[in-house]
Every structure is written in C-alpha cells, then in structure tokens.
C-alpha cells in the first residue's frame, strides 16, 4: 500500500447541490490508516455529503478525493462502485438491511455483489464477526425479527465482512439507546482496530468523542460556511 499513511486525502474540495444554496468547500481533509476520526458539526454543514464524497457515491465539482493515491473522481463510476464493494465498509444510521435477507445473507451481501465466491473461509469470517457482535444465534433471522441494536450489529458485520481499509459510519448510534449504542461502538472500534482500517464516524454525541483519535468539526472547516436553511446535512 504505497500511501498507507494517508488512506484518504481530500484537497481543495468544492461541492454543491444544483438548485440549492448548499456548498461544501474544504482545503484539506486526511484520514490515515489505522486511525479513527469523529466528524462533527451542525446540521446541514455537509457531514453526510463529505462521507458520500469520501467513498465516491458523489464526486466533487472541483478539487480531488484521493483514496490510496488514486483520484476517485477520475476512475469512473463502475470503478468507484467496485472500490466501495472491496475497500470501503459503510454503516448507516437507519441500518439499511434488506428485509428479505437473513442476517447471514445480509452480512455476505457485499462479497456476493462483488462477484467473489463465498468460500468456507469467508463464511467462517461471517460467523466469527457475528459471534463477536453477539448475533451468531440470529444468523437465520430476517431484520423484522431483530431489535434495533441487533440490526445495527448485523449492519456493522456487513460493513466489515470484506475486510475494508476504510469504514465510514453515518451516525451509527443515532437510533439506539445509550447502552446499545455503547456496545455497538465497542464492536465497531474493536473490529476496525483488528483490521487496521481507518474509521470515520459522523456523530452528534459529544460524550463519545474521547474514544476517537481525532475529531474534525466540519462547521469550522467548511470555508463556504453554512447556509441559513440547508438542504443537505
């Protein structure tokens, strides 16, 4: 990995949504391998947009977003999708589990979508992740029969199954009670540390900021400022 220190490097970023007053303008944003970073800021400052830009779901109007030294705006949509499948783990606030898949199938989904064979090793890893997340007994259940905490644990296992080099989490504990939120964060931190991956988490919970290596306040860093009535957060 030639740029192991700086896994994600954003420079001179400029992004806006057409038809809105929202604008995100960043001089620099860096995420290093094996480091954890909390992304905070007022609603509408562009935290989720920054996460989308970091993994290629969105591309900037100006500036560069480099992942492992490659500008992901230049590699094309298909390559960006493949990069997400193979190198990025995504955890969402609303879990985003498919209702018709069991927990095991949900965890294995990124492997299958990338066209890789679900080998016995991968299956074993899925069981191991589920065991460490405390949901091994629930592998045959569908999301409807899981608690909120169990769903988020399943979603975290799904994000980690491909051993991603970067995990992006958008308010992963936003819908959870404090005790469940604590245990979900424990799982996330533990797994990321094991994989030596980089972790970027959006959070509004200032109580947990102490757990991160760094905290990045986008409200302060967004040079465009925050519009009075933002259309995106």
């Amino acid at each position: 990995m030639p740029h192991s220190e700086q896994l994600l490097k954003i420079r001179d970023l400029d992004f806006s949504y057409p038809g809105t007053s929202f604008r995100l303008h960043l001089d620099e944003f860096v995420l290093e391998s094996g480091r954890t970073k909390a992304l905070i800021g007022r609603s509408g400052c562009g935290k989720s947009t920054l996460l989308d830009l970091a993994c290629g779901i969105k591309t900037p109007r100006d500036g560069t977003v480099e992942f492992e030294g490659r500008d992901i705006a230049e590699i094309g949509d298909e390559a960006r999708r493949l990069l997400r499948l193979e190198s990025v783990g995504l955890v969402f606030q609303e879990f985003r589990l498919l209702e018709y898949l069991t927990v095991l199938d949900s965890i294995l989904l990124p492997i299958r979508l990338s066209g890789r064979t679900v080998t016995s090793d991968i299956r074993e890893r899925a069981h191991e992740l589920a065991r460490r997340a405390g949901i091994e007994a629930l592998l045959k259940r569908r999301p409807q029969r899981l608690s909120q905490g169990e769903r988020q644990r399943a979603a975290i296992c799904r994000a980690l199954i491909g051993t991603p080099r970067m995990v992006l989490a958008d308010e992963p504990t936003g819908n959870l009670d404090p005790a469940t939120a604590e245990s979900v964060l424990d799982l996330l931190f533990e797994q990321v540390a094991d994989a030596q991956a980089a972790l970027l988490v959006i959070t509004h919970d200032h109580e947990i900021l102490g757990r991160f290596d760094e905290v990045f306040d986008l409200s302060e860093k967004n040079l465009a400022g925050i519009p009075p009535k933002a259309g995106a957060s």
Partner: protein
C-alpha cells in the same frame, strides 16, 4: 463484473420474490392467465376445427325429418340433444333397397346416466372404425356398449348394467327406465362416440315405449311384486318395479306395437356406393319435401365460420385484456421499484455494479414471466384433455 455477481443478483431477485410470495403469485397468476387464455382458445379452436371437419367429412350424407340442418348434423354426428322430429325406419330400408347406398339408421332420443343412447346397428361401429377395447359388441335387445369416456366417468365395465334416464317426471305414460346390460367398452377415439352409449335399434324403441316384454309374476319368483289376486290372475304393484330388464327368457315375449316399418328413427347416415350413386340419391331425396338431406361437411363449415367469427372476436377481446393486464403488471413493477427505492439505493451505495443492478431487476421480471409461461403451457397441455369437439358443443 463476473458472471457470479449476476448469478447472485438472480438469487437476490428470487429471494425478493419468494419473500413477497402473495404479491409474486398474484402477478404470476394474472400474467399466466393472460398468456394461457389466447393459447388455450387458439388450441381448442384448432383442435375443434380439425376434429369436427374430420368427422363431418367422414359422413357423406345425413337424412332427417324437415327442420334445421344444423340441428340434424349436431344431433346425428355429435349426439347433441337437439329436438329432432322422427320419421319411419322404412326410409332407411328404402335407401338400402335402392342399391345406391348403405344406410345407417340412428335413434337419438334416449339417454342413460345423462349420456346419449344411440340406437343403431353394428354397421355404425364398422363405419366409424370403432373397435371394442373390452368385451364384445351389442347383439340383442337390452345390451349396449359404452363409449370410452362413459366407461371412464361411470366406472362401469362389461357385465355391469346402466339404467336409462326417465324421459321426464311428468311422463306418466312413458315406460320404466330400462336396465341395459353392458357387453363391451369402445376403444378411445377422441370423438363424440367416446361420450355415447350404443345399442340395438330395438332397444331404443323399447326405451321409448314402442315395444315391451311381458313379465311373469308369481309368488315364487317375486312375492313383493304381487299385490293380490283377481279371479285367479295376479295383480302386480307398479310402484315396486323401478325398472325393466330384458333377460333372455323375457325376450320371447318381446313385441312392438304398430307396423315394423313405422317404428321411429331420428336420422340416417347415408354412405353412397360411389359418387354417381350419391348424385342420383341426392337428386331423389332433395326433391322430397317431407325429408331433409344434408351434407354434413358443408353444414359444419358454415358452423365453423360462425365459430371462428366469434373466435376472432374473442381473440380481440383477449388481446385487449392481455394488453390491459400487461399494462397493470408493468405499473405494479414500476411501483414496486419505487417502493424499493431505499433498498436499491442501499445496493447502489454498497457498490452494486450497473450490470448486476440491471440483472437484478430484469431477472425478477424474467422469473415472473417464466412462471407465467409455465402456467400457460400447463393450461394448453391440460386443455388437450378436453374433448376436441368442445368448441362445437359450446358454440351450440
């Protein structure tokens, strides 16, 4: 993107469809019916056309009492319960005497277990090329052979008996139902003969009350039938005799009322010796106002033209219905994609490729279409078990 990703997309599509089983089944059923209806209709019309034309072309001429030519053909070729006037059997004998043709008389008025009872002679079975699959042909009054479908639906075999249907509840002057002894079952022929019971003309006349046997009653043979005695003669109870049976002993007393030549039949199949004989006979019979001569193939062609006009109309309606169903299904799928916007967004965010994404959506549609097509194929296959002349019966 590897083929395996597409395979997984198909698996995902299958999981989604089975998870929403009721919705998927409803779409499949609606689509299946849209596919099956035109196929089954087309198949039935085609088979019906072939079967009816084959049978009508194999029947050169039919003679009957004046009335509708369509009724005469439907009754004499397909034994449909058309109201036909009867005429004397002597007409049949006259045709045979002319040495121009062979005539096969048909008595079509009776029914047994709701199947038509065709009184004729064994020449009919030879003419139609029917063989006996089990048992032997009828030989004497009171005996009958069953068409293959009658045997199958009633479960009756040679040696069993079948009771003729009474003509009507208010037919107080009619005879008792007759117990027909089954001597054989015809081989399946995929024709109207499969659904009929065949017997001797004399049997038909007995059923119609034109002939009867005398039954000896005494206390030794059947004490329950004997009500009393009047000047040494037994008085029998009609109430306790639910049917008549022709046994070999009773045949000695069989007799018919009226002159033998006056006994009634409803139709005659005429098989001219050759074309010239047919022309001469047709010319003679066409002149007669008291009889109706028809060429079944011409009549059937006319009927079929009518059926196919209706068929074309039905086809148009089915096409419109099918198009409407497809539009509704299209709408359901579009709505389904909209409802699944979140799910599809999740897949896109996780990183599904465009190709795999298209495979996922298309394979869902394809799975629905394949299952609907299977329903269509099964329906066409199942319709092949329906009588080939069903269209003719329905049209009638």
């Amino acid at each position: 993107m590897s083929a395996r990703a597409h395979l997984h997309a198909i698996t995902l599509a299958w999981r989604h469809l089975t998870f929403h089983g009721f919705r998927s089944s409803t779409i499949i059923l609606a689509l299946g019916i849209s596919i099956a209806l035109p196929l089954v209709t087309g198949s039935l019309l085609e088979r019906g056309e072939t079967a009816t034309m084959t049978r009508s072309e194999a029947t050169p001429l039919v003679l009957g009492a004046p009335g509708g030519s369509v009724d005469l053909v439907l009754a004499s070729l397909w034994f449909l319960p058309e109201p036909l006037e009867s005429f004397p059997i002597s007409e049949s004998e006259a045709i045979n005497d002319s040495m121009l043709a062979t005539s096969i008389p048909l008595s079509l008025a009776a029914r047994a277990s709701d199947h038509p009872v065709v009184g004729t002679d064994v020449e009919y079975l030879r003419f139609r090329g029917r063989s006996i699959a089990n048992g032997r042909s009828f030989a004497m009054p009171g005996e009958c052979v069953l068409g293959a479908d009658v045997a199958a639906s009633t479960g009756l075999l040679p040696g069993d008996v079948i009771l003729t249907d009474p003509e009507g509840l208010l037919d107080i002057g009619g005879g008792y139902p007759l117990r027909l002894r089954i001597t054989g079952v015809l081989a399946k022929s995929e024709s109207a003969d499969d659904a009929a019971v065949f017997c001797d003309l004399r049997t038909s006349w007995i059923i119609a009350g034109h002939g009867h046997v005398h039954i000896e009653i005494d206390e030794e043979t059947d004490p329950h039938v004997l009500m009393g005695e009047n000047e040494g003669r037994p008085i029998a109870s009609a109430a306790v005799t639910p049917y008549t049976e022709l046994t070999p002993e009773r045949l000695d007393s069989l007799h018919f009322h009226g002159a033998p030549g006056d006994l009634p039949i409803e139709a005659i199949i005429i098989i001219p010796n050759d074309q010239k004989s047919g022309t001469i006979l047709s010319a003679r019979l066409d002149r007669r106002e008291d009889m109706l001569l028809v060429t079944p193939s011409s009549v059937v062609r006319e009927i079929l033209e009518r059926v196919f006009r209706v068929g074309a109309l039905v086809g148009g309606v089915l096409l419109a219905t099918g198009a409407a169903t497809l539009a509704v299904i299209g709408l359901v799928l579009v709505l389904s994609v909209r409802l699944r916007k979140d799910e599809l967004t999740t897949l896109r965010m996780i990183g599904i490729s465009r190709g795999t994404y298209v495979t996922l959506l298309l394979s869902e549609v394809m799975i629905l279409i394949v299952f609907a097509a299977i329903i269509g194929v099964v329906a066409v296959w199942a319709s092949s078990f329906l009588p080939a002349d069903l269209v003719l019966r329905l049209a009638n």
